[in-house]
Amino acid sequence: MQIYLPIAEVSVNAFLLLGLGGLVGILSGMFGVGGGFLMTPLLFFIGIPPAVAVATEANQIVASSFSGALAHLKRKTVDLKMGLILLIGGLLGAGIGLIIFNYLKSLGQVDLLVKLCYVAFLGIIGSLMFIESLRAILKTQSGSLPKKVRRPRSFAQQLPFKMRFRTSGLYISVIPPILVGLLVGILSAIMGVGGGFIMVPAMIYILGMPTKVVVGTSLFQIIFVTGFTTVLHATTNYTVDIALAVLLLLGGVLGAQLGSQFGTRLRAEQLRILLALMVIAVCVKIALDLLIMPTELYSISNASMH
């Protein structure tokens, strides 16, 4: 069944969109990631204009992160205070990201920017995750339990403007969380992602937050940052396609439920190595698009949307 998307102004198969939503939903349920970093490139591949894909995906992430954050709030695994501090940086970052996005769009370079961001971040995160989960698997196979290392005093504890975060059991400066929020906010606006795949490692390794509250807190602040990004894209570029978002949502909701059930049957290290491989695969695919000579050298963009 073909459906005409009112904002993207393209006609696509509704079942394809439901299927994509479902597939990414399964993955996000299995791995506990938002899936924006997979969905946005997939939308490019099926012919949705990149600007619409990025803006609409931000809107879809509002839904999936809200649903996820609710569950974490119930389990009290959200550090609300830390979430709010991250959010200050996040909203600022989303604003900056959108200015960069719109400036490069006027230069006709927005596709390149988005793709380069994807290659860089997916490449780094994918390889790090792959190496670490491979090590963890080797360790468990050799029989020795992973040693608990007491983390050295991080620089987050040495900077000024310290604040106590009871839920996380931390007493650190607010500067690093604001900077982390800022970076993820910029990426959210440019890449159409929630940024959980960067936020989560940053919270663990840079801020030293306990793993228990990391996902919930990340989801909590992603709701607001992607919500803000949605409004910014809607008011400056008119590129949020609500019909597209709803179709992706429906598939995503079902998929996430299925995925979380698959996820319980696999071991954590195996899950992480699978996710790492997937992240690397998407990275390689986008990189090849940039490196191999395209069959059509010319492209058309709508000048009136500048």
């Binding site: 073909q2 005409y4 009112p6 509002v62 649903s67 949605t230 409004v231 894209h233 949020v240 059509e296």
Partner: protein, 251 residues
């Protein structure tokens, strides 16, 4: 019914030696949520005051979508990466353009008349002002034609207008699903020996309707409310999903 319309059209048309009157199966194309392209059937007749001069008549039918400014980018390899390096702004290019002729294009209308009436696809674009400062501007407009032709947005349909008895003619033009809305101009040129004898234009109203129209208009006229509504829908969907999950887990 068709004949009655034609008779009516013929009897009321202006008094020229030879003039053209037309009808269409639809004057409105509604873009609904399930819009999957459309076919427009154009038919008409040639009205004559006196016997036809020698030489067969030919018909050209064009349908042009609303013109809009576009940017055409060309990629080149920079530091190993293919990126957009050259851009040509085209002041206005029709978002859709179809030309149907009753014979080969060149034998239906001659070059001078093509230039005057801007009938052929390249003329329909170039006529609205490609910049002169880019040396190979032609390759950019060629690219526009190539890309849009592949999507069925630009069509050259030679020998697709049927003429009966030098009087009645008909053609049908397919519009793909990916068209934008606006006023589409349908134009019929009556030619003999390559020269235009009469021209007739009419408007086809291509509009999003219902929900499509509501959403599109809201996104342009009230973008803040549209953005907030998008978030509200997303929040509601997220909440409904988590509610549903808990229900399923409980059972």
């Amino acid at each position: 019914m068709l004949r009655l319309i034609l008779l009516f059209l013929i009897s009321t048309s202006s008094a020229m030696a030879e003039s053209v009157v037309i009808g269409m199966d639809k004057e409105k194309v509604a873009i609904t949520a399930t819009f999957d392209g459309s076919q427009i059937l154009l038919f008409g007749a040639v009205k004559r005051d006196k016997p036809a001069p020698s030489g067969d008549i030919q018909i050209v039918v064009t349908i042009a979508g609303p013109s809009e400014p576009i940017s055409v980018h060309r990629k080149a390899k920079v530091l190993g990466i293919w990126m957009n390096t050259d851009t040509v702004e085209v002041d206005a290019a029709p978002s859709f353009y179809a030309v149907a002729t009753s014979s080969n294009f060149s034998s239906t209308i001659n070059d001078t008349e093509d230039l005057r009436y801007k009938v052929s696809i390249p003329r329909a674009i170039r006529s609205v002002g490609a910049p002169m400062d880019v040396l190979d501007a032609a390759s950019f407009s060629d690219a526009v034609i190539r890309i849009r032709s592949e999507k069925g947005l630009y069509q050259l349909l030679e020998n697709k207008v049927n003429i009966d008895e030098q009087t009645l003619f008909r053609t049908s033009i397919e519009m793909p699903a990916d068209i934008s809305d606006g006023d589409y101009t349908a134009r019929i040129l009556l030619t003999r020996n390559g020269n235009v004898i009469d021209e007739f234009t009419t408007i086809i109203d291509v509009r999003k309707v219902g929900l499509e129209r509501f959403l599109f208009n809201m996104s342009r006229e009230n973008p803040l409310a549209y953005g907030l509504m998008s978030i509200a829908i997303a929040i509601f969907a997220g909440w409904a999903a988590s509610l549903l999950f808990r229900f399923f887990r409980a059972t």
